[in-house]
Subunit: 306 residues, 2 copies
Amino acid sequence: MTAPAEEFARIARHFRPLAGAGALDLLDDAAVIAPPPGRELVLAADAMVAGVHFLPDDPPDLVARKLLRCNLSDLAAMAAVPLGYLLTVSVPRSTPDAWFAAFAAGLAQDQAAFGLALLGGDTTATPGPVSLSLTILGSVAPGCAVRRSGARPGDLLFVTGRLGEGALGLRAARGEVADPDGYFADRYHLPQPRLGIARHGLVSAALDVSDGLVQDVGHLCRASGCAAEIDAALLPRLPAVPLALALAGGDDYELAMAVPPGNVAALGAAAGAVMVTRIGRFHAGPPAVTLLGAALPPGGGGWSHL
Amino acid sequence: MTAPAEEFARIARHFRPLAGAGALDLLDDAAVIAPPPGRELVLAADAMVAGVHFLPDDPPDLVARKLLRCNLSDLAAMAAVPLGYLLTVSVPRSTPDAWFAAFAAGLAQDQAAFGLALLGGDTTATPGPVSLSLTILGSVAPGCAVRRSGARPGDLLFVTGRLGEGALGLRAARGEVADPDGYFADRYHLPQPRLGIARHGLVSAALDVSDGLVQDVGHLCRASGCAAEIDAALLPRLPAVPLALALAGGDDYELAMAVPPGNVAALGAAAGAVMVTRIGRFHAGPPAVTLLGAALPPGGGGWSHL
């Protein structure tokens, strides 16, 4: 326990500048916001722990941005627009002020990039590794959240971006694979939330690929009550990325989407500069994922933090 | 890393039964809720870490209830009505299923008692101690959140319940003081969120006493731009509770409130069966807390988790 004055000063110095309208300068017991009129709220929470979800010596600004982006990716999957977030930060007592300064600078950078602000939170000590938790708020027009359960036989399966780069990036960040220009490590540190692409009426279902493509498409199948096939030859990946990582690597944070065939052109327009690639289709049948042109990774693929 | 299937099964078994409307059975990327029409949202987040905020061998159901109640106490201070919460749980990989069962049972019990439901969250592994984070949502009529900044010279200072019992309870739970019937340990494990007492128009300002009375009344003074005096002889405490704990013990989770003199009878009515006690008053002057009838604890009192 340090003097409380120290904790308050740290909040004032590093977190108050991030506070948005309604956060009451982080000086009250809670934030008070008027929800956007005529909208539904979309809410998600993710935790990240040093040594599990990021490397203990990862730069704090990148850790902060990854935490925010993983949550933004959940909003992207639901077709929601970001509003704000609450954050709890548990750190060892010896954590230097510079760590907080860098962490807050990362948040500030991505708050500006993605249009949201800090609403509240808590900082505490821990005898263990840095443990972070972020709850994100977004909004969507009533009934227009995109769910996992809307995929229908005949829908095409699309993904944004390229697969397997987060997982290869983790290996690169650990020094296990060559990454001369740091591209893959960067992909691991800074996922790109694909906001604005999955839209109600354009895609039938969506989720963000965080556990691995095959497993996550399996989630779409189970929620929607249909089957999917993935064509290994169609998977968007760089030559350096092994097929197994594209299929089952975690930390992609790309979107997998069920798209009615008539909406393909509109999807491309919605995606703008972001690549979207057809990698398979949904069909009638019990929930299952079939892989064409390659063997499924052992255990069906997928990756979990627990 | 265990098989992802294990994590999903655990969520289905223990957390899905807690999920409220809008949580989408915890099967989607995020929750979707319609905010209560014509209300403002009140949002707070708190983290709790084993060995810092609770004892590593505390029963998991009590830990869960304390986590929920500390956040409910923040809503009580703002005069908000609970809506729901999101929760992240980071636990060692060896954590048995029975831990989750007990933890969820505690949540279920207090969800029913306080009228709110789980909206979403995350479970992860950690190489460190159990780390929990909870974000709570409540609502309030527009403009009717009670703030820390509304205290005015002439207001009386009231507290709910009795002070110092949480701090003495921590010592009892550690076996450092006698507690034959477990009353004090219970007070440490299960704070009572004082919902419905601080109301707009009835109290000018409020907060929940979590860092220690003197320090927290100091927060009211700073936010409101006035001074307060506390009469040590008036502090509601059991004979077993040392004055120093009533002044500076943490973990009270009682409310400190600024109350215009004309509202005292109405406050008593709003409090119902909960005791409310006048312990001092606010007066004009630079923000400071004066203690009458006793010396301030060294450092001005107060207690922090960091």
